[in-house]
């Protein structure tokens, strides 16, 4: 689906979301019944650098400051963080983490946050946006990844054929929507053949109050150990305190 089709499907009652400078998405959509959904995002595979983070973070903080309980939709198609000496020199890690913190604050302030991955999503830009929401959904064709297989082959010094074979048996490293769903990062995959506004409402009704991604990964068999180990550490911390 194209971005225009997605936005039209999500907001049949209307929206003013536009792709502005830096391929940033900003605007507001109308839910059935007239309530607002605040939209931010990044489009067309654009990498996210410090100049992109600032307007997005400002908008998120303004929404958090304004009060109310309008949900926030974070729409993402980005190849990853901007790779540039300038951005690194200025401390890109702080900028990306800042945007993630703003989204987490907005959620804590009463604005449920939904990530929507419809194109690419990778690495630091993924952490700063869609992975910092209460729930992440995707549309078929989305390509969430940490790194593509050819690059991974270079770094791990393993033949790409071997990685491709491995990726069929384990979701912990292979790029793609199926893997990210199995490990618990993507909670739902929406059906483009059905009305998106209805699916948005259904997702809004099921936003978890806590981070359930580790439990989801265990349930789906893609990340069997994480939830149990996190619990085990917490249990031992508690036992130590009581001893």
């Amino acid at each position: 689906m194209t971005l225009d089709e997605i936005l039209a499907g999500l907001f049949p009652s209307g929206h003013d979301v536009v792709v502005g400078p830096g391929k940033l998405l900003l605007g507001t959509g109308r839910r059935v019944g007239g309530h607002a959904v605040e939209v931010i995002g990044i489009a067309e595979g654009e990498p996210l650098g410090i100049d992109g983070v600032l307007p997005l973070a400002e908008r998120v903080l303004d929404i958090a400051a304004a009060g109310g309980d309008a949900p926030m939709l974070v729409v993402v198609d980005t190849q990853g963080q901007r790779m540039a000496r300038r951005d690194e020199m200025l401390g890109l890690n702080e900028y990306l983490a800042h945007l993630a913190k703003c989204l987490l604050l907005a959620s804590r302030s009463g604005h449920p946050t939904i990530g929507l991955n419809y194109g690419r999503a990778a690495a630091g830009a993924f952490l700063a946006t869609a992975l910092a929401t209460d729930i992440l959904v995707a549309l078929p064709g989305a390509e969430p990844a940490v790194m593509d297989l050819p690059s991974m082959a270079r770094v791990t010094k393993l033949p790409q054929e071997k990685l491709e074979a491995l990726s069929k048996t384990t979701p912990v490293f292979a790029p793609g929507l199926d893997s990210m769903t199995k490990v618990g990062a993507v909670t739902q995959v929406w059906d483009p053949a059905k009305p998106l506004d209805v699916q948005l409402e259904a997702t809004l009704a099921t936003i978890p109050a806590h981070d359930v991604r580790d439990a989801l990964g265990a349930e789906r068999g893609g990340r069997l150990l994480a939830a149990g180990i996190a619990r085990r550490v917490a249990d031992q911390a508690g036992e130590y305190r009581r001893a």
């Binding site: 410090i50 085990r232 305190r241």
Partner: protein, 309 residues
């Protein structure tokens, strides 16, 4: 005790120490207790697929101890095992520790993160990436519950990728000259964008872009430590109890700080140009001066002290 009368432990190099050595020497003597220790043999089940050896702690050590008599929770990454990377097991250990602090107010209200990590472990990329996202969210939740989370960066692997974002999610960051932090490592930028964009073999350039002194000068770290365990200990003690709350006011201040940095320094094409723009009288000398001289220099630089994060 060494010949100079200082305890050997205190003068040990942070950079050269292992994660376990750092913990042993940073904390009050004998106070460290490990959770899910190596004897429980909790290791990565995925590395064998890549013909790589696993470790019984997966390069992540978590537990509690005391610092200057105060109870703290601690986590330390072993940069010499798989680059200290975030993976399914290592990430879950850190996540469990932070969630414990978040949920149990009788546990110590300070967490020290001894980061030494290149980021996400590629062999477990999805699990590692997601672990970073979970850790960042847990840090925010713990901070909102009144826990101070302090990152200490000075190891061989620095704090890059997901570790760079994790550091910047903490309440405060202590860094040494050898500490490096960022998102994309210089080698990866060179591979993707060409040697003209970033020459990863030019060590002086790499250091000036990502190193601890630059980070401290532009406000990317809250405190500067010499490369000794004693200095990291002192800097950490000075930060304890001073954490800002995690709220709208703090994030508004951080946004103003980050936007102000782009305004002041966004046009600079080198670290020396940044240091000059910050008012450093002899920016070229910044790389060569000793630590006390650098600390004195930082005290005069506007903006380095405003570290809302």
């Amino acid at each position: 005790m060494s010949e100079t009368g200082r305890p050997f432990a205190a003068s040990a190099s942070w950079f050269l120490s292992t994660a376990r050595e750092r913990l042993a020497k940073l904390l009050d003597a004998g106070s460290f207790t490990e959770f899910v220790p190596p004897s429980e043999r909790v290791q990565s089940p995925h590395l064998a697929l890549f013909d790589l050896p696993a470790a019984f702690d997966d390069g992540m050590i978590v537990g509690c101890g005391r610092l200057g008599g105060k109870s703290v929770l601690v986590a330390a990454q072993e940069g010499q095992f798989m680059g200290g990377t975030f993976a399914e097991v290592s990430g879950a250990k850190l996540l469990g520790l932070i969630r414990a602090a978040r949920d149990d107010e009788k546990l110590p209200r300070t967490i020290l993160l001894l980061l030494d990590s290149g980021g996400v472990r590629l062999q477990e990329a999805n699990a590692g990436e997601l672990a970073v996202a979970e850790v960042m969210r847990a840090i925010v939740e713990a901070r909102a519950a009144g826990v101070a989370v302090i990152a200490l960066v000075g190891g061989r692997a620095g704090a890059f990728g997901g570790a760079g974002l994790t550091a910047a999610t903490c309440s405060a960051i202590v860094i040494s000259e050898q500490g490096r932090t960022g998102v994309t490592g210089p080698e990866v930028i060179e591979t993707n964008k060409g040697v003209e964009e970033f020459d990863s073999r030019d060590k002086a350039l790499v250091w000036s872009v990502t190193g601890g002194r630059t980070r401290r000068l532009i406000g990317g770290a809250d405190a500067y430590a010499e490369d000794t365990v004693a200095s990291f200990r002192e800097a950490t003690l000075a930060l304890m109890g001073k954490a800002r709350p995690f709220d709208l006011a703090t994030l508004r201040a951080e946004l103003a700080r980050l936007a102000g940095r782009v305004g002041r320094l966004g046009g600079c094409d080198s670290a020396v140009a940044m240091w000059s723009a910050l008012g450093v009288a002899d920016p070229r000398a910044t790389a060569d001066m000793d630590d006390p001289a650098f600390v004195a220099l930082v005290a005069d630089v506007k903006g380095a002290g405003d570290d809302a994060r």
